[in-house]
């Protein structure tokens, strides 16, 4: 599905990649290629198989089937050599609470075999990069969630990786902390670092990813750039209507107003190219929703279209 002309020459190359745990199929024969220098996303709800895929790329999980090449090597045979060139930001922080902030970076650099004085220098550069210099000698447990996340990202950069894997980099962060993380990731991308991330936030995928795959139930259900996915699977605009809580939305009276109508538990979505015009028409038909909202289409709408469910339940 997500193939490119380079195929096996890609930074990550997967064909029919599968992962099973006993009876559970976590990843079901997926194909994708990640090219050097791009930001590539796995978008999907919890349990879609994103983390299992990331763990296989990170060489800490053995594929049950299919082909996987990372940096041109086999993750099963060449794990340590691949990991030497990867940066990994796991879903939950694995910071060392026995160590201080700066020591976390220093020790991690030492795990990569980086000489002491260089490790020390790089630790300070990275603290500067993630704006934690003034917390260098604090204990990790006293950092906020956003600071811990930034420290984890800094730690993943100590070996100057060619490929950075981020598993839900901003889940659980407040908006301000998220924007700071996005800004740093954007800078890394500009420096030429290839970024692979998973997320269940459509805005994150739209902000960061050049290309992405949408995963659902262990499979890839769509592939493309955020814009092309929206163009392909959604309309230009969306009109959101809220009706009183107990009233059933009058779907029959909305008939023909939009390309597609989606009735969610709390609101009704009308997919249309001109939201304002559709809203006028709704009122002209004598309907009085409690609120109306016209917005741009997002990847959330794409996901809803593809699976009939929201990304975040």
């Amino acid at each position: 599905m997500a193939t490119s002309p380079d195929g096996p020459g890609a930074l990550i190359h997967a064909r029919g990649l599968s992962k099973r745990f006993d009876q559970l199929v976590a990843v079901d024969a997926i194909d994708f290629d990640v090219e050097r220098g791009e930001a590539f996303g796995f978008l999907g709800p919890n349990g879609a198989g994103k983390t299992s895929t990331m763990r296989m790329i990170g060489c800490v999980s053995t594929p049950s089937g299919g082909t996987l090449r990372v940096l041109g090597m086999d993750p099963v045979a060449d794990g340590p050599r691949i990991r030497a060139r990867l940066g990994v930001v796991p879903q939950s922080d694995t910071l060392d609470t026995e160590l201080l902030v700066e020591e976390n970076l220093f020790t991690y650099a030492r795990y990569f075999g980086i000489a002491r004085d260089l490790a020390r220098r790089r630790a300070w550069q990275l603290l500067d990069f993630v704006q934690l210099k003034d917390r260098a000698h604090d204990r990790v447990e006293f950092l906020s969630g956003g600071m811990k996340r930034r420290l984890t990202i800094a730690r993943a950069l100590v070996n100057e990786p060619e490929l950075l894997l981020l598993d839900e980099p901003t889940t659980g962060l407040d908006p301000q902390a998220r924007h700071l993380v996005w800004d740093r990731l954007y800078r890394l991308k500009q420096q030429g670092v290839t970024i692979v991330l998973t997320t269940h936030y459509m805005d994150e995928a739209e902000q960061l990813c050049d290309r992405l795959v949408v995963m659902d139930k262990a499979r890839i259900v769509a592939f493309g750039s955020p814009r092309s996915l929206i163009d392909q699977y959604s309309s230009r605009e969306v009109l959101e209507l809220r009706f009183p809580i107990d009233a059933t939305p009058p779907l029959d009276q909305l008939d023909g107003l939009a390309e597609r109508i989606e009735a969610l538990p709390d609101r009704t979505l009308l997919y249309t190219d001109d939201g304002e015009a559709t809203a006028v028409e709704v009122h002209r038909r004598g309907l009085r929703p409690e609120s109306t909202l016209v917005r741009r289409s997002t990847l959330e709408d794409v996901f809803l279209r593809l699976t009939g469910r929201s990304l975040i339940e």
Binding site: R55, P90, Y111, N159
Partner: protein, 255 residues
């Protein structure tokens, strides 16, 4: 195997901050035990009909046994909660495995660190033994190695077990039903041959009885052929335990 050295280095960085307290404790515990049990209880025994235990003053009898039993207890403490923390609660190992470090290197580094800690504790204990005048042979210095090996004979299988656990429920049980009974019945405070036959048999199946017997014979400088058996049992427990830990940690972290 350079990865193992990096794991060790991590521990040393932490230890740089905590060594004073940790070393202080290593001296306090043997002083208390030898003073209270050795001299307190020992003075009663010396005035009683026996006067000595197996030909030794009571304090000289229990000191080498306590040396080995202390290593067992440190090994138990170090391989339950702290390992659970690194596997699951703080996922320190997961962080290590995102670098070129391999599972075997993690394990070698961890056991290397453990040996270092056991050695420090045992040397401290030995110095206290010298202070209390319970050392009667030059061979006694080897009892330090026996204590480290006894610790490892417990640490390795317990580590292997911990790597299979999702909760800490069993840790208290190990303490209550393995470590404490062995401490009391493993030949530290009185000769094992005083126990009922069945209990004696059980005691000899565990590493502690062998560690205690070997440390004691080195302390008095009388080595019998049984020493080879004691050493073999300790080595087998340590080797099998490390092999098992390699399998269980691999299964746990690489899925």
């Amino acid at each position: 195997m350079t990865g193992a050295l990096r794991v060790l280095e991590h521990h040393l960085i932490v230890y740089r901050r905590t060594w004073k307290g940790s070393l202080f404790t290593s001296f306090v515990s043997p002083i208390l035990f030898l003073a209270a049990m050795g001299f307190g209880l020992g003075s009663l025994i010396s005035r009683g009909p026996l006067r000595t235990v197996d030909g030794l003053t009571y304090v000289a009898f229990i000191a080498p046994g306590l040396l080995a039993a202390t290593a067992m207890q440190s090994a138990y403490v170090e391989t339950t909660y702290p390992i659970m923390v690194r596997i699951q609660w703080e996922r320190t190992y997961e962080g290590m495995l995102a670098t070129p470090i391999r599972i075997l290197e993690v394990l070698v580094g961890e056991f290397g660190w453990l040996v270092f800690r056991l050695a420090l504790g045992s040397v401290a204990f030995f110095l206290v033994m010298l202070l209390f005048g319970t050392v009667h042979s030059g061979l006694a210095v080897l009892a330090i190695l026996v204590a480290v090996l006894t610790g490892l004979a417990f640490a390795a299988p317990i580590f292997a077990w911990t790597a299979t656990r999702r909760t800490d429920l069993s840790f208290a049980l190990i303490g209550r039903f393995l470590i404490t009974p062995l401490f009391l019945l493993g030949g530290v405070f009185f000769p094992i041959h005083q126990l009922p036959q069945l209990v004696q048999g059980i005691a000899w199946l565990t590493p502690l009885a062998h560690g205690v017997a070997l440390a004691r014979s080195l302390s008095v400088g009388v080595l019998t052929p049984a020493a080879a058996l004691h050493l073999a049992v300790l080595l087998v427990y340590a080797a099998v335990g490390i092999g098992a830990a390699r399998i269980t940690l691999q299964r746990r972290l690489v899925t």
